[in-house]
Structure formats: C-alpha cells, structure tokens
Amino acid sequence: MPETELHPETGSESVLRRIVTGNALVSVLSVLMALIVGGLLIALTDEEVAESAGYFFSRPGDMLGAAWSAASGAYIALFQGSVFNFEADTFSRMIYPLTQTLTVATPLICAGLGVALAFRAGLFNIGAQGQILIGATLAAWVGFSWHLPVGLHLLIVILAGALGGALWGGIAGLLKARTGAHEVIVTIMLNYIAIQLVLFLLTTPGFQRPGSTNPISPQLDSTAMFPPLFGSGFRLHWGFIMAIAATVFIWWLLNRSTVGFELRAVGANPAAARNAGINTTKGYVIVMLIAGALAGLAGVAQVSGTEKVLTSGVAASFGFDAITVALLGRSSPWGTFAAGLLFGAFRAGGVTMQTSTGTNIDIVLVVQSLIVLFIAAPPLVRSLFRIPPPGAFKTSGKRMSKKADAAQGAA
C-alpha cells in the first residue's frame, strides 16, 4: 500500500502526533487521574483537613494547604517507598525501595503469567490463589522436611512448588476437558478448598514447629531458600530472576513454540484448532497445568524467598491481584511483567505511605483500581482531556498497517 504518499508529513510532526495521540500519554494521564481522585479521598478524610474545614470561611488557605500537603505527602511517600528514597543516608537505602518493589512483584508476575497464559488459551483462571497456596505448601514441606545438598534442594523445592500449583490447576483443566465443568466455578471452589487444606495441614504436627502448636511451619532449610540477590541487606532474592526466566519462557512458549501455537489457537478459535489436528481437550489440561505451575512458582517465591515459612496467609491476595495484572498486561508475557512491577510498586510504596504519613493503606487499593480502570478505557481519558483519537490524523489503511507492524513486533 502506498502509505508514504498519503502521509507526506515531516518527521518531527509525526513524532509529536504520535506522542499526543499515543498510548503512552493516555497511560500517563490515566495514572494522573487516578492519583487525583485518590488524592481527593486522602484529603477529604485527613484529620487536619477536617479540622481546618471547620473554619474554611475564615481562613480557606488552611484547608487547601492541609489538603494539598496530605495528598502530596502521601504520594511522595508512595514514591519513596517504591522507587527511590532520596531522603535516605546511604545509597543502598536509597535504592532499597526499588528492590522491595521487585520483591513484591515477583509472585505477582509469576501468578499473573499463569492467569495470562490461561487467558490466551481461552480459559479464565480465577484459581491462581489456590494454586499459589498449594504450590507454596508443597514447596515449603520439601523445603523444611527434606534435607538435601545445596543447589539440589532449591531445585527440588522449585519443582515441588510448580508441581503443587500444576496439580491444582490441572484439576480444573481436567474437569473442564472431561466433563465440561465451567472452569470459573471450579477454580473459585478450589481456592476455598486450598485454603482449608492449608489451614488443616498447619494444625498437624508435621507442619508445625517443634514444641509449638501455632499454625506456622518451621523455616525452610537455608539450602531450600533463594539466595539474596544483592546481599543480605535487601529482601530481594533470586526468585526475581526466576520470574524473569518464567516471563522469557512464557514468551518463548507462546510466540515461538509449537505448544504455544496450539494453545493460542485453542484459545482464539477452538473449532479451527480442532480442524487443524490440535487436541483441544488435551490443550485445556496442558494449559491449566502450566498456568498452575506458574502460580505454584509464585508460591515458591513466597516461601523460599520472601517469607521463608508457610502460613495460611502466605499467598496474601496475590492470586486475585494476578488476574488484574494479567488483564492489565493484555495477557502478553512482557505486559504482565510490567503490570506486575506496577502493582509491586503500589504494594511496596503503600507500606511507606502508611507508616510515614499515616495514610490508610486501603487507599492504595482504591488508587490501584482506578488506574486500571482508566488505563483500560483510553477513550474515556481521551475524551476527558480532549486528546484526538489515534486514527484522527491517519487513514484506516495506515491504521491497518500499524496493527500489522505491532503484530510483527510482538511476534
């Protein structure tokens, strides 16, 4: 197609237009909008703001000042807690927040990949929570009750975690393939069953510390733990490298491997996949096994890296956050990776925000979900900020080729 003659525009112009109409700007504005709404909430419920609101008409500046300082203070703390702490004394403390972000992102990325992969194969895996738990349980058990040499032990622990998650995911896949049971129901139910199972195991002596009946497992052997990535001063561990490896692997699997081709085909058009000789029922089982294994790795990252013990809360809400992470990442491996980092930053930064400014931690959830909503609805942000739609300067022909380019880039 003779695109060039349709667009005789100069380079700088086109760059400008791309920025103005591009997704990056929309994403930035989405974050901005969410922050504004969150800031309003923070300000509205701030004590000082409420106090000064009482005499708003005699000295309005007080209230506005208080509102501004409440909101901006909270966000500065959020940034300091998640990216870079410019007030710290030492360099390592300055970058400590970033390492915290990566630490929290690790399980989010792994579990997010599991949800994303299932999505690509047309399955809605709400079960990451349960898969993380079972993966963590098996990994922890191998970690504290088997005693193996360095290297081998960690390897077996990782395998055990993946196996546990795969088992839990595989049940849903198998039931879907064999009986047609809706995977949404089955995975929701398996989440509940998993937590009860873990609660039960933690009441048995085999999972408790000697001499204690508290529902906490013994610490994993040091041979079963991920070594710290930057020394013991940081919580960041090699699990993050595992998450990167998992992302690369899933990227390869989806885009470069025959298995991924099958899974994507099953997800995009099961009928055509069947016609092409792909066994779709086997596909469902395989995809849920792999998805479960990925969530299981998130469990491993928790018990072998961050928490070092098994408790019933070891999965936090990572399994549910993983759904949003995957969807926000548009179910692509690197998208999920990036979304995982963003959510990791929120969780890590939220801690500092709470402790140093006293802002309620729940506000992080609010801001986080607003950001997702705004990012997911570019037209809304565009219309709010009166940004022209991306195709406004282009013809549809150009648009199609851009899509093709993007597809090529992704492949």
Binding site: Y55, N85, V104, I216, T306, A316, V351, T355
Partner: protein
Amino acid sequence: GAAPEEDSASSGEASANGDFLACMVSDSGGFDDRSFNQSGYEGLKAAETDLGIEIKTAESQSETDFGPNLDSMVVQNGCNITVTVGFLLADATKEVAEANPDSHFAIIDDNSIEADNVKPIIYDTAQAAFLAGYVAAGTSETGKVATYGGINIPTVTIFMDGFADGVAYYNEENGTDVEVLGWNKADQTGSFIGNFTDTGAGKTTTENFINEGADIIMPVAGPVGTGTLDAVVEANAGGATNKVVWVDSDGYETAGTGKEYILTSVMKLMGEAVEEVITQDVEGNFDASPYIGTLENGGVTLAPYHDQEDAVPADVKSAVDEIKAKIISGEITVESAASPK
C-alpha cells in the same frame, strides 16, 4: 467555627517525652478489628496521651506486609520501641530485632523469640476462661453451653480449652452434666468460622447452637462475635434468655447492640500491658523478660456481670472467687496445649 491561633495548637502537647517514638504493627486484621489488634492499639493511644510520646502505626493487609512494615518502622522511622501484634509476626520481628539491636520490641501473643531487645507479652488466658466456663455452667438453664472460634489457632483455642475445663470443673464439683457444644478439648476439634470477617456466619452458627439447646455462647472470633450478639438479641426477643460470654475486652463497654445479654467477658488486658511496657521503656527500664498476663497479676480477668448480675446464682459467684484464689495459689492448675510455657 473560629480559626485557632496560629501556633498555640502545635506547641500545646509538647512534653519531655516528645522525641520518644513508639510504634505498632498490626496483623492482617487491622486496628479496627474490635479484637486484639484494637486492644493493643488502645494501649498505644493511652501511652501517647499519658506519656506525651509520639506514636506511629502500620496496618498489615496481609502477612507479606509484616516484614516491610516493620522495616519501615524501625529503619526508616527510627522507632524506639515497636510493638507487634500476634504470633504471626514473630519471624519478622525476630529478623528485624536482630538487625537492629539498639531498637526495642514487644510482641503480643508470642514467646518464641529470645533476644535482649524483644519483650514477649503473653497471656494465660485459659485461667480467666476457666472462670467463665464455671460461671456459664452455673448459670445455664438448659445444661448446654457453647463456644466457637474464628480460626483454629492456639490464641483462640486457649479460650476454648479454659472454658471447657471450667465447665468440666463445675460438673465435677456439683455433680451436674453441663455439656459444651462446639469444642472438644481432648481432640482439639470444634466449630470454627474459618475467618475473622464473616459476621453472618457467626450469626447462623450461634442460631445453630441455640437450636441445639445451648443458652450461653462464647464466640472467640473477633468482630464475628457481633453476629452472636445479633442472634441472641433476635432469639431473646421471643422470650428466650440466651447469654453471651465476650472475649478480649469487656464487651459491655465495647460491643454496643445486645450488650445487656453479655454474661461476662474473658478479658485479656493487652492495652494495659502495652502501655506498661512502653512506660518502662520511656523510663529506661526496658527488659526482655516475658510479661505473662495471669489472674494473679490481673493481666487476664473476668469482667463484671453488669446487667446479668441477677442471672448468676450467688453460690456460683462466690465459688468463682474461691476458684480464682485457688488458681492464683496454684491449687488448681488450668492447662491448655496453648498455655504459655
């Protein structure tokens, strides 16, 4: 309203201890859990007003927040003493305490850390629950009493153990056969909601107990206990005389709706202990020996009967006072798998 004077407001409460920072990290229940996080938090607030110190708090949304919250408190904010609420925080507390030997810590409901800068605050709750069990058995009109928990963990089951033993002791003394529903001490099995949030489940569970004939119920499930009060209020509206044994704080003071049906409360005075430990530290008297709340030192106790004063037979009341003395003297030992060792 009128605007306050510019500078008088902030300088008002400045005091000698203004540079002492006491902090607290909750477990995942949050400080408004109407349960032990809240009790601890109230102690911290009391210390703030009484001692004029600075305080900071961090709520954990999940167990993965413990470490970061503690780190943020101690390393970033430089807390002089940090109180952590709940045994789940033990590992995180231990780790941070080891890394920061100059900071002080106190941990509620855990006695596993042995370090010079960590003070365990633990309770022999079973002692007070024993008394509650005795009162319940002595007051029950149906001969059945009940208890249930949030989750099957030692800090919960220690209440249930004590309660069951108190009932058993009553039966032994009086040759009666009062039954405990919802908890089997020997097997350590019983009724649990599975969480500390589902108030509705607390209510249906209580209704089930009432249907099975229990008339005194002790919920050990934090905010879920309000479900029990609601069930009792509804049942009593039809003329029944069911009663509730509250836990942790004096429910008559804190619970609101249905407080008139609270027979008594098994109090675990965490706020007082927290304030005391902070006071000691402010005064420079911090020590790492465990604080064990018992009937003897008043760390655990039975709340007044309030509106149910008349429901409890006089001989039961006097027996309770005797038993209390016997427990303090060691004549009666109350044992639970979860008792502090």
